[in-house]
């Protein structure tokens, strides 16, 4: 199993203000890592560090065995695709134009995307089953459709590692399920997936591993059944939950 993403002794945060430290991580192809944590727990800071948008305060991130800091930006983009939370579009780009932007790292500085790039964008659009939306304007789509378009853009990058920041945030129930199903299907095809969520139940549904962040940088990591326990969630979120087995997996229900 190829290791797609590694972190060793990773400290993340801002100069003079550490958010988390000592994170070790290794994610292989076909694995889905769900990152859970409270608001302000550092999920976004961790993601920005993993993406190389924020400098690591300690340790390092490695992509397919190579240090993130040593790779040029365009090479990082070819290896790791990013789906931001709540993409805000100011202009009415079509889905096809947006997915095509995923090809940036493959297009020369002064060039426009060529036939190969267009074909890659079409494949990504087809892979997400949004061919019917290709000429629609992104800002006019529903939240779920927009999220699928953003995932298609990450696929068009040619990256085998996908990082998604709260991909189900502000989606309705059906679209949440659709996005999770998409993530699991991509993992089955050999992609490595990292996503953050506010719902511990999603880890049981879609993830093979869980990273639980608490304020102050405490970390727990492991299989969903090991990490998502009533005790751990009480510590992190300060609420009572019940974990119950159901159809070979588990569900996580809060107790009011």
């Amino acid at each position: 199993m190829a290791v797609m993403l590694e972190a060793q002794g990773l400290g993340y945060g801002y100069p003079g203000r550490a958010v988390g430290r000592g994170l070790d991580l290794a994610l292989g192809a076909g694995e889905v890592l769900c990152v859970l944590g409270p608001n302000g727990g550092g999920k976004t800071t961790l993601f920005r560090t993993l993406l190389g948008l924020l400098e690591a305060q300690a340790g390092e991130v490695r992509l397919q065995g190579e240090s993130l800091g040593a790779l040029p930006r365009s090479e990082v983009a070819r290896r790791m695709g990013y789906v931001p939370q709540g993409h805000v579009a100011q202009f009415a780009f079509t889905v096809r134009d947006v997915v095509l932007m995923g090809r940036t790292a493959h297009v020369g500085l002064f060039a426009a995307p060529g036939a190969a790039d267009r074909a890659a964008a079409e494949r990504a659009i087809e892979a997400l089953g949004i061919g019917a939306l290709a000429e629609r304007v992104l800002t006019e789509l529903s939240g779920g459709e927009r999220q699928l378009a953003m995932i298609a853009r990450a696929l068009a990058q040619g990256a085998r590692l996908l990082v998604l920041d709260e991909p189900t945030a502000s989606l309705d129930f059906g679209n949440q399920v659709r996005v999770l199903r998409e993530l699991r299907r991509l993992a089955a095809e050999g992609y490595a997936v990292v996503f953050s969520s506010h719902d511990p139940g999603q880890a049981f549904l879609a993830a093979s591993r869980v990273l639980l962040l608490a304020r102050g940088g405490a970390l727990r990591q492991g299989a969903p059944a090991e990490v998502i326990t009533a005790e751990n969630l009480r510590q992190v979120y300060g609420v009572e939950v019940r974990i119950a087995p159901l159809d070979g997996t588990s569900v996580c229900l809060p107790v009011l």
Partner: protein, 338 residues
């Protein structure tokens, strides 16, 4: 919008520009017929030797020619700069006036007029002023930490623009009221009436130097409309790209201001109009915006010199057309300006 309907839009725009240009050559106090224009063109281009009144030749070659060329150049340059600024600042309501470029260029030129310098020095002053203003704004924006970098740039531009406006007001106050003040006021209003071929020859290379990078980066420009994190994650060195585009758009603005003074609204309206027609994708948007900008300013300038016995400053006309259009956009068509 399909490829074919886009092609139709481009074709109509280009044809419209051509018709307008011919009309502009013909219209005016000394009206010229299509036949006269044709004979003149044949003489000039192919040495055909048709008989043409010498006055007609002077009007076309010395008076209207440079003025029409200037309108085309200034309109296209302002529209291109506006398109770039709007995409880059992810804000469809900005224009070349942002970043204090126009104000800086104006101050440079007004200083030149105040010190009774030659036209060449006045123009160079406009270039230097525009570039200095954007350099200052950029330096301020880059050194403000912990703020949205886009917002810092825009605010720095507005603040500097106000300061430059104060300096301009001071110079107007001090200027000789019989000689310099009318010249300054006229220039600040924006006009193409006094354009000489030498002005064009001076400004055109600057405009071209700004256009080339915009054309080369025409597809990559789209990525500046994403958030910085997104664009960087897609492999774009955002800071360097934005710097290159700011420089290019500023060069084009300064070139336009140096020829015509400050003509407002073109850089705001035309990118909107073009975006409504072909969408926001920059490589499709830029050529259309330039054609529409050239056509718009040519139409406005032709009206300015024919509609009344005296010349109306074109800046006044663009504001008369621009304000209602802008309000209409703002109130009714939120979708369209996106």
């Amino acid at each position: 919008m399909t490829r074919r309907s886009r092609a139709v839009v481009y074709a109509i725009a280009a044809l419209g520009l051509l018709v307008l240009t011919v009309l502009a050559f013909g219209a005016g106090r000394f009206a010229l017929s299509l036949a006269e224009l044709g004979a003149l063109a044949a003489n000039q281009l192919f040495g055909a030797g048709y008989e043409v009144a010498p006055t007609a030749e002077t009007v076309v070659l010395q008076v209207r020619g440079p003025r029409i060329l200037a309108a085309l150049l200034v309109g296209a340059a302002l529209a291109a700069a506006g398109t770039a600024y709007q995409g880059m600042f992810r804000n469809p309501l900005v224009s070349p006036d942002i970043l204090g470029v126009s104000a800086g260029a104006a101050l440079g030129a007004v200083l030149g007029i105040f010190f009774s310098q030659s036209a060449l020095v006045i123009q160079l002053g406009a270039f230097a002023g525009g570039l200095a203003a954007v350099g200052l704004v950029y330096a301020v924006g880059a050194n403000v930490r912990r703020h949205d970098p886009i917002l810092s740039l825009i605010l720095a531009g507005i603040v500097l623009g106000t300061l430059l406006g104060a300096f301009i007001a001071l110079i107007k106050y001090l200027a000789d009221p019989y000689n310099q003040l009318p010249a300054i006021t006229y220039w600040l209003l924006g006009s193409l009436a006094a354009v000489a071929p030498s002005d064009l020859a001076l400004a055109a290379p600057f405009a071209l130097a700004g256009l080339v990078p915009l054309y080369l980066l025409r597809w990559r420009m789209n990525l500046l409309s994403l958030s910085d994190d997104e664009a960087r994650a897609l492999g774009v060195p955002v800071g360097r790209l934005r710097f290159a585009v700011v420089c290019a758009a500023t060069l084009m603005t300064a070139a336009a201001v140096a020829i015509s003074g400050i003509i407002g609204w073109v850089g705001l309206l035309i990118p909107h109009a073009a975006r409504m027609l072909v969408g926001p994708e920059f490589s499709r948007l830029l050529p259309l915006a330039m054609v529409l900008g050239a056509a718009f300013l040519l139409a406005v300038d032709t009206l300015a010199r024919t509609v009344a016995p005296i010349e109306v400053p074109p800046g006044v006309l663009t504001a008369l057309i621009g304000t209602p259009f802008f309000l209409w956009l703002f109130v009714s068509a939120r979708r369209a300006w996106q």
